[in-house]
Symmetry: C2
Subunit: 144 residues, 2 copies
């Protein structure tokens, strides 16, 4: 984890690497991602920051992070959109998140299982796969 100071510095470099200005909103939101054990959705940021930031700013910040390959979206069957930090190998035009996602039916948390590879899918003839998204629902380690 590291001290608060170290985290702030790490966030600073991450933003500068992505050619983004280092602002309070961006720093705070990245901090929340790093502290969190799982994926976050828009509403979480308003709660966790106590409405310090405008809704619009949060939307725009998340979009910017997506564009720069800092975070990725996780598919859901409801209208919420969940986001999680990408691994360091991701960049603006190249996502390398070849992991699956796990949603716990008990605690509601969604986490990235970074060690669990996305399986090979054997598609019918004529179909070309580009990306494969896997979301497993069940009971997580902590809730078992």
């Amino acid at each position: 984890m590291g001290t608060k100071q170290q985290i702030t510095e790490r966030i600073g470099s991450l933003l500068r690497e992505s050619k983004l200005s280092v602002t309070e909103t961006r720093t705070k939101i990245l901090e929340l991602f790093m502290k969190s054990s799982g994926a976050l959705e828009h509403a979480d940021f308003e709660k966790l920051t106590g409405k310090t930031f405008d809704r619009v700013t949060i939307y725009r910040t998340l979009q910017t992070f997506l564009d720069k390959g800092i975070i990725h979206k996780i598919p859901t069957t409801d209208t919420s959109v969940r986001y999680a930090l990408c691994k360091s190998e991701c960049s603006e035009h190249d996502h390398h998140d070849h992991h699956i996602h796990f949603k716990c039916e008990e605690c509601g948390n969604t986490i990235c299982l970074d060690e669990t590879d996305v399986p090979q899918i054997h598609l019918p003839k004529g179909y070309a796969a580009h990306t494969v998204e896997v979301v497993v629902s069940g009971v997580c380690k902590s809730c078992k």
Copy 2:
């Protein structure tokens, strides 16, 4: 496929089997599902029916169909919710849709690949899987 007459009868039985009244809205929406090659989302119904039905009625109809196991949801990374018909083996408390979903990046269509099984996922110790959702993006047969 069958004649219009036959489809209407099939829909009637399906609704009665699920202990639902046979109404115009429900018949029309099921008809659209059966005609459609892929998954549909709420907005499609308003378009396809030419605003014949109230938004609220469509929401409630889709929810009812979900509850009865007539349709299922497909996960997405945006705020839209996509629905598709379940296979005949599904019932109110028992879904048996063990297939993957394919979203074409060209035509935007989402389809159920009924012959393609959901792969076994080997989770880390401590995790219990309940359902596995797989959505593959790429280029479909027709767009290739």
